[in-house]
């Protein structure tokens, strides 16, 4: 151990530790840490690992429910989907690395989230991605889009997990800080879930996967630090993903998991060997001793510090049942993976590291976790915006043009250029995916008649306008999207992307969004089972729009009764469930047609949401409807167009009975669904709704080859589709 002080205040600051944080370290150790130990503390107490700004707020979330097998706290959340099956899922961000190296940043994001899921014993069965880029005209946007999409596809396609859906927004607020959020869903047996708590004393610790290199050292602290103009210069090493090794790792781990050899397992994510070993030890209440000489190394002369902080990808740590070492070796060697016995569990409660015959670290584990900073950062509530009335908002004189502009606007235009680069079909259980433009992807549980429905949603402009209502809306939209395909919504994961939490107004967005989200979770009995927080998303003091992406998962008990928006038939009647007030505040109409981003966002009435959604689901199960699509971005008009594109049928919308036409067609009132209903079901559908106190009205009909709204637009379905499809390929260089 170093005798003389090697830790200067500069070194402490470079490690992202405040003076008071360093004082706690000195106090708990009763001495100065050496550099390796300091590095370990800095990683464990980084925002990324310790959630020091968010922890107390996340604690408010509803996290339990009848179907919750494992809530937040493990690598991913686990829910019960009957018959002994469980679904394991989580969403995670890889924003900063993707901005610096879009292909590898996005690829390793996908790899990381998959590891979180198969670490727990699940075979990954679906991937989703939620992407936010800067303005389409910004010089960097195209390059980022093409790199990120290629990276997501490159990794997921190779591993052989279908990427079945996602969402993509463009806004100037992301010009200097894009968001790349990836979600993975896996399938496991409910009685064979693997956790990370190490148990017992003297049990062998195995290292499996790729060798350790000097990758992304300080990556975890980077992810928690703001960008500035110099960041192009200070570029830290970005990790390169190796999907081939990931695929082998999945197969090997699942093979070993089918035996009883594993006591605990943890992937090495951000903060690598440090956080994986400490989390395993802390959860199990044991100590850990590691001989770093045994760690498979890619480069010569690596220091203890480098090995502990390396973020090399495709690595796992596990505690193996004594006596099963050979079994583990055999399986990993069959899959041609590096494997090494690097240490053992101990009863000291300390993390002890040996390197080149010296003890290079000896620190008590409990304080690393228990004393991690937990800040109550000051926060101010976002000021409420004025509620705009439709009658006070300019009405377009050219509805054909308005519809075309909205259907070719960045957020509404088809994202085919993106999702055609993703293998959506591998594993042959994808029942519906991005391909239909549907609300939620549907992935069959292999060999059964049931399916999982998956969606990701967030409307950042609503959250920016009103974090609380916007937070409610994100959760409500996922619930609605799952409902649209006939699923019972079960639980969510989230990825909370915000700016610098040390600024009270940003912290106010964060706190407000969480409160809104949580309110919705309670209203729907729809718990949060996993998630991720990404803070400091800003460049030169300019924060991104607050973006709490939500991933929702539901169960379709019987695929015979699933629903899509594809099935609208000639002669069907269009019924709109839910009340339309013509809410244009913070709408696409306002931003695209009037270049305004003001006004309060549509409020979400959670009990109406619940009532309407439960009714729609009942109609689907009772086979009363041919197609369902929720009304969200762009309102009734956009919803009808999307249903037209998916079903190949024209749509005719009647004029509003009261209120203004622009509000009627483009208003974004919540809790609404557009249904295509066969003639003989129309009366019962409306009558039953009325009896339940649900708004339901006939708003038009299906058929022909045009999209029309009385007193507004009348355009060719094919021409509109072509324009909607062409926007992104044109942006990306004119090649389809």
């Amino acid at each position: 151990m170093a005798k003389k002080s090697e830790i200067t205040p500069e070194i402490v600051a470079e490690h992202g530790l405040s003076e008071s944080e360093y004082a706690i370290i000195l106090d708990r150790l009763g001495r100065e840490p050496n550099l390796t130990e300091l590095g370990i503390f800095s990683v464990m107490w980084s925002e990324h690992c310790s959630y020091k700004s968010s922890r107390r707020h996340l604690a408010k979330f509803l996290t339990t429910g009848d179907r919750v097998i494992q809530g937040p706290g493990e690598n991913a959340g686990v829910i019960d989907i009957n018959d002994g099956d469980a679904i394991i899922f989580k969403m995670e961000s890889h924003n900063h690395p993707s901005y610096i190296e879009p292909y590898q940043g996005a690829a390793t994001g996908v790899g990381g989230i998959m590891r979180d899921v198969f670490t727990m014993g699940a075979r990954p069965i679906a991937l989703m991605n939620a992407l936010r880029f800067g303005e389409p005209t910004h010089w960097k946007t195209k390059q980022l889009v093409s790199g990120v999409v290629a990276g997501i596809g490159g990794y997921g396609n190779c591993v052989g997990v279908p990427t079945v859906g996602g969402e993509t927004n463009f806004h100037k607020g992301y010009n200097g800080n894009i968001l790349v959020n990836a979600m993975c869903v896996g399938l496991a047996k409910a009685d064979n879930i693997f956790l990370s708590a190490a148990k017992g004393v003297g049990n062998p610790i195995f290292y499996v996967g790729s060798k350790t290199g000097r990758d992304g050292i300080h990556g975890a602290t980077m992810a928690s630090a703001e960008f500035d103009d110099d960041s192009d210069e200070k570029r830290p090493t970005v990790q390169v993903g190796d999907p081939f090794t990931e695929k082998l790792l999945i197969e090997a781990c699942l093979e070993l998991m089918a035996t009883d050899a594993i006591i605990a397992i943890q992937d090495m994510g951000a903060a690598g060997l440090t956080s994986s070993s400490i989390e395993m030890a802390d959860k199990g209440g044991v100590g850990i001793q590691i001989n770093l000489d045994k760690v498979p190394q890619r480069e010569p002369n690596m220091t203890a510090y480098e090995m502990m902080l390396s973020e090399s990808q495709e690595r796992m740590l596990m505690v193996i049942q004594p006596g099963k070492e050979k079994l583990a070796y055999d399986i990993f060697e069959k899959w041609e993976l590096d494997v090494a016995l690097i240490g053992k569990t101990t009863d000291t409660g300390n993390l002890v590291l040996k390197h080149k015959r010296k003890k290079v670290c000896d620190i008590p584990i409990a304080p690393l976790a228990d004393d991690a900073p937990n800040y109550d950062r000051p926060h101010v509530k976002t000021e409420a915006r004025e509620v705009l009335e439709a009658r006070d908002i300019h009405e377009t004189q050219d509805y054909n043009d308005a519809l075309l502009r909205i259907m070719t606007s960045p957020d509404i235009a088809s994202k085919r250029w993106i999702w055609e680069q993703y293998d959506r079909h591998v594993m042959t259980d994808t029942v519906d995916s991005s391909q239909s433009g549907g609300d939620a992807a549907i992935v069959r549980v292999h060999g059964t008649k049931k399916a999982v429905a998956i969606t990701t949603d967030c409307t950042p402009r609503y959250v920016y306008a009103d974090p609380y209502e916007g937070g409610k809306q994100c959760v409500a939209e996922t619930w609605r999207n799952l409902t649209c395909v006939g699923a019972d919504p079960i639980a969510i994961t989230d990825c909370l992307n915000f700016g610098n939490p040390e600024r009270p107004e940003i912290m106010g967005q964060f706190v407000g969004a969480i409160e809104g989200m949580n309110e919705a979770c309670h209203a729907f009995d729809y718990p949060v089972v996993s998630g991720n927080v990404s803070l400091y998303n800003e460049t030169n003091g300019q924060a991104i729009p607050p973006t709490p992406a939500v991933g929702g998962v539901g169960l379709i008990p019987d695929l015979e009764k699933h629903m899509t928006l594809k099935g609208a038939k000639d002669g069907d009647t269009l019924i709109l469930i839910g009340d339309t007030t013509g809410w244009l505040g913070s709408s696409i109409y306002l931003s695209e047609i009037l270049s305004r981003e003001d006004g309060a966002p549509p409020p979400v009435n959670l009990s109406t949401e619940k009532l309407n959604g439960d009714y729609v689901r009942k109609l689907i199960r009772g086979r009363r409807v041919n197609a369902v699509h929720d009304c969200s971005d762009g309102g009734l008009a956009v919803t009808a167009c999307e249903m037209a594109f998916a079903s190949g049928q024209g749509m005719h919308i009647v004029a509003p009975t009261n209120g203004k036409t622009h509000g009627w067609l483009f208003g974004e009132d919540q809790a609404r669904y557009l249904l295509a209903v066969e003639e003989n079901s129309v009366n019962p559908v409306i009558a039953t709704a009325k009896a339940k106190g649900i708004e339901a009205q006939i708003v038009g009909s299906v058929g022909g080859d045009r999209i029309k709204a009385d007193g507004a637009f009348d355009v060719s379905l094919e021409k509109l589709r072509a324009a909607n499809e062409a926007w992104l390929p044109n942006l990306m260089n004119g090649d389809a």
């Binding site: 396609n157 190779c158 591993v159 081939f244 695929k247 993703y422 259980d429 391909q435």
Partner: protein, 220 residues
């Protein structure tokens, strides 16, 4: 009838192929690990599945095509054993010299996944008998390196010999002559970039692929 599916490291349509084979033959295929030096006895039909064997590193299918099991399969195919490769399997077969030509990077350099309409270019092969001549089928494609290339002489020869089995209606990758699938001269080795094994189920990709499996299985 006993079929086999070869598993290379990072094959990922091995299960998809197995499901298709079991559906058509009523019997699960034997999954054969690439390190084996010989096929088990009594195999009537071998499928090289899709995926990214060895991560598609170096060239798609290249490293897998040099594995011990492929040597044995090649020898047995020369003695008449039917062998089909889909997607990455097709790439392995060309790399192994069991089918002519090569599969290069898609013309627009992007991975492409979409249902693709194909015409049955020759309905008179062991793999296409179930289809009407010139009929159209839809199989999904999902590949990065599906751009079929062969030199002029080779191309002329396979065209003349009627060895092009499927063609794209709208070419997604730049393949010469819109070629989606071919057979060898003897007609027992077949490869195609689209995925017939992903078109055997109404819930997923349609059922146009069944004809292909029925054709070859019935010919054995």
């Amino acid at each position: 009838m006993q079929t086999a599916v070869i598993r290379f490291p990072a094959s990922n349509c091995d299960r998809d192929a197995a499901v298709a084979l079991e559906k058509v033959t009523g019997r699960a295929p034997i999954m054969v690990w690439h390190r084996e030096t010989e096929l088990p006895d009594g195999i009537d039909f071998v499928v090289m599945p899709g995926g990214f064997s060895y991560g598609d590193y170096l060239r798609s299918g290249a490293i897998a095509s040099r594995s011990p099991i492929v040597r044995d399969i090649k020898a047995k195919s020369e003695a008449g054993l039917p062998v089909a490769g889909f997607c990455n399997g097709f790439q392995v077969l060309t790399e192994a010299g069991m089918l002519p030509g090569a599969l290069m990077r898609n013309k627009n350099l992007k991975f492409v996944c979409r249902p693709e309409r194909l015409t049955v270019a020759n309905a008179n092969t062991r793999y296409t008998k179930h289809y009407a001549p010139k009929s159209e089928v839809t199989f999904p494609v999902a590949h990065h390196d599906g751009n079929y290339f062969a030199d002029k002489d080779t191309l002329n020869r396979i065209e003349k010999e009627g060895r092009v089995t499927f063609r794209y209606v709208s070419n997604p990758n730049g393949s010469l002559n819109d070629i989606a699938g071919i057979v060898n001269k003897a007609g027992n080795v077949f490869g195609m970039m689209p995925h017939p094994e992903r078109a055997i189920d109404d819930m997923h990709g349609g059922t146009d692929g069944l004809g292909l499996f029925k054709s070859i299985i019935e010919s054995i």
